[in-house]
């Protein structure tokens, strides 16, 4: 907004003064004479336009961002006044960064009382951090009253709704947001993920496809699209999506893993194994190794499956699924293979094999009784 003239402010009636305050981001509350002086001061200061120097409020804002919230709080305390809400927002942000959520909320409340709309959003973040999701959603609504289609507010609200378990409401907000901002790929991706969470795989795939169209370099979006397609029973399309992701980033571990799983669901064991092995080569993650082990098991490559289970147990010694897998494979011994392996192993490992044998014997017992 352009600055009103001094004469305009001096002769403004009360509603006009309040409107000017709202436009200039000034506190509109108080005796009219004081509010008028507040606006005049602001206009005079802006008209003079002194050369920029880092004032305490600038330093405070920088300190908050640099990770020194306590120092920032001290500076904000010196500059906050009742004539403008902005320093209260800064003060609240510093308090929030220092982990003092209660105090931060109070500061944002103060700014919101001065009719600073953005303070509602900051307040929502503080309340969200405190776990008061209902309060956070209400704050978002308060902001949205005056800024119906604001992207940040809608995204925040959707996030809080989803965190609170109100998936359908969250989806509705995101659908509205995508209508208002159809060109924002993140929104489509968010909507797609939310629909996936709600197990509405078909609309999820549609939303994710739109996200992928808007952002040609979006690898995670393509992965999500692949998952949506896979879950909606279209593994062939899913494979296409994963391949697109791998074209953008050939060593993307998650894409390799998911592609392996997609091939597995289509019964193409060889391709599944190739991709899972490549994924496991890049990152020894238990989830990937478990997929690999299971695929090896399905492919009846017992030794390789066992090897994969052992790798998982080296990373996570108490992994129940890996333990069960190893036990299962040990329960179906192939004498020749086991004898050969036992001979190759070091004495310590041989002891392990013995214990596995014991375990297998124990498991065989109930079968006999059956």
């Amino acid at each position: 907004m352009s600055l009103p003239s001094l004469a305009e402010v001096e002769h403004a009636d009360w509603p006009t003064l309040q409107r000017i305050c709202a436009d200039l981001d000034l506190n509109p509350k108080g005796r009219s004479g004081l509010v008028r002086t507040r606006v005049l001061d602001h206009v005079r200061r802006r008209m003079r336009a002194p050369p920029w120097r880092a004032a305490p409020e600038h330093q405070a804002a920088l300190l908050t961002r640099l990770g020194f919230p306590d120092a920032a709080t001290g500076l904000w305390e010196r500059v906050i006044r009742l004539d403008a809400p902005a320093p209260w927002v800064g003060y609240g942000a510093a308090r929030l960064a220092a982990g003092e959520v209660e105090e931060a909320t109070k500061a944002f409340d103060r700014a919101a009382q001065m009719r600073d709309a953005v303070a509602h959003l900051y307040r929502a973040e503080a309340l969200g951090a405190r776990g008061d999701l209902v309060g956070a959603i209400r704050s978002c609504d308060a902001y949205l009253e005056g800024n119906l289609a604001d992207l940040r507010a809608l995204a925040l609200k959707a996030g809080f709704l989803s965190r609170g378990g109100w998936l359908d409401e969250s989806i509705a907000v995101l659908e509205f947001a995508t209508e208002a901002h159809p060109g924002v790929s993140d929104l489509w991706r968010g909507l797609g993920v939310m629909l996936l969470k709600a197990r509405r795989t078909k609309p999820a795939a549609d939303a994710l496809r739109k996200a992928a169209k808007l952002d040609a370099s979006d690898v995670p979006g393509r992965l999500n699209l692949g998952s949506a397609l896979l879950l909606s029973g279209r593994p062939k399309d899913a494979i296409g999506s994963y391949r697109e992701a791998l074209e953008l980033d050939p060593s993307h571990v998650e894409a390799l893993n998911n592609l392996g799983v997609a091939y597995l669901s289509m019964g193409q064991l060889k391709s599944a194994l190739v991709n899972l092995e490549r994924a496991a080569k890049h990152v020894e993650a238990p989830a990937i190794l478990l997929n690999l082990a299971k695929t090896e098991e399905i492919a009846k490559r017992r030794r390789e499956a066992l090897k994969a289970y052992e790798r998982i147990l080296r990373i996570r010694p108490k992994d129940a699924r890996a333990k069960a897998g190893r036990k299962r494979l040990a329960g179906r011994p192939k004498p020749s293979a086991r004898t050969t392996k036992a001979r190759k192993r070091t004495p310590r490992r041989r002891r392990k094999t013995t214990s596995t044998r014991d375990a297998s014997r124990k498991r065989r017992k109930p079968r006999k009784s059956q």
């Binding site: 509350k29 108080g30 005796r31 009219s32 004479g33 004081l34 507040r38 005049l40 006044r81 009742l82």
Partner: protein
Amino acid sequence: MIGTTDDAKDRYLPSVDRLEDAMRAGMRALDAGQPDEALERFNLALKLKPEYDAAWLARGHALRQLKDSEGALQSFAQALRANHESEEAWLALATTLRGLGRRREEVEAYDELLKIRPRSVDAWVNKGAALHELKSFRAATACYDAALAIRPEHAPAWNNKGAALLRLHDEAGADRCFAEALHFDPDFFDAIVNRVLLLQRRGRHGEVVIWTDRALRFREAAWLLYVKALAHLGLLEGTLAVKAFERALELDPKFQEAKEGLREAKGLRQRVDFFRGVYECFGTHEAGDPGCEECEISGRCREVSP
């Protein structure tokens, strides 16, 4: 080349050339905060032209920077001997006399200047200030009136007149003068502070808080914070009073009255502690004002408003 040098010799006397060089070098040294160097240059200039008023004046300024007030006084007197009508020399002489505490002579210096330049606003205002310090408040007010007749928008003259009227117990007149001063210069620290003192005298705590806050934006001083804290006490705002006393003590840890005030404020906070929220004008209720009609704390505000 030889011809050019001869021409220069014909056109300038060598001493004049050197005189200007010495003056320029002296002024440069004075601006750079090197009064010793400047004094040397001005002395050289005076050797070349002993009756040069600008050199005496500059020498006086250098000596003032060197805290040699008597020497400076002599220099300014010499400057006036060389040029009796130099306004700058009269003002410098009067200022030096003020620094030496010779108020009557200072007033006389302004009188002399006003004989030569009767429309010199600075002379009228400074004469008024000297008379104020001599406790001749009525004469001081007359000087300010003379200055304001020449320049009605002169904020320091309005402020000084207000201060003189305050000493003459004309609070209403003083208030009007401070209002005029702040109308012409809203950021005039002295006028803001004078208004704070007037409001404090009248027991208008709400307005004291508003105006001390304004003054504190320009300069943070322990005594101002102390005044602010007292006003918060008057408005039964325990926490705000404690904060102001604490800040005053941070700035001046030996401020005894602030220590006592802090104790009192902490005691008050346990009994009553009002929270003004977003209302900067708390304690200044005005019946019929549209802002006051919308106010959420008007009940409490009315109670503490005078």
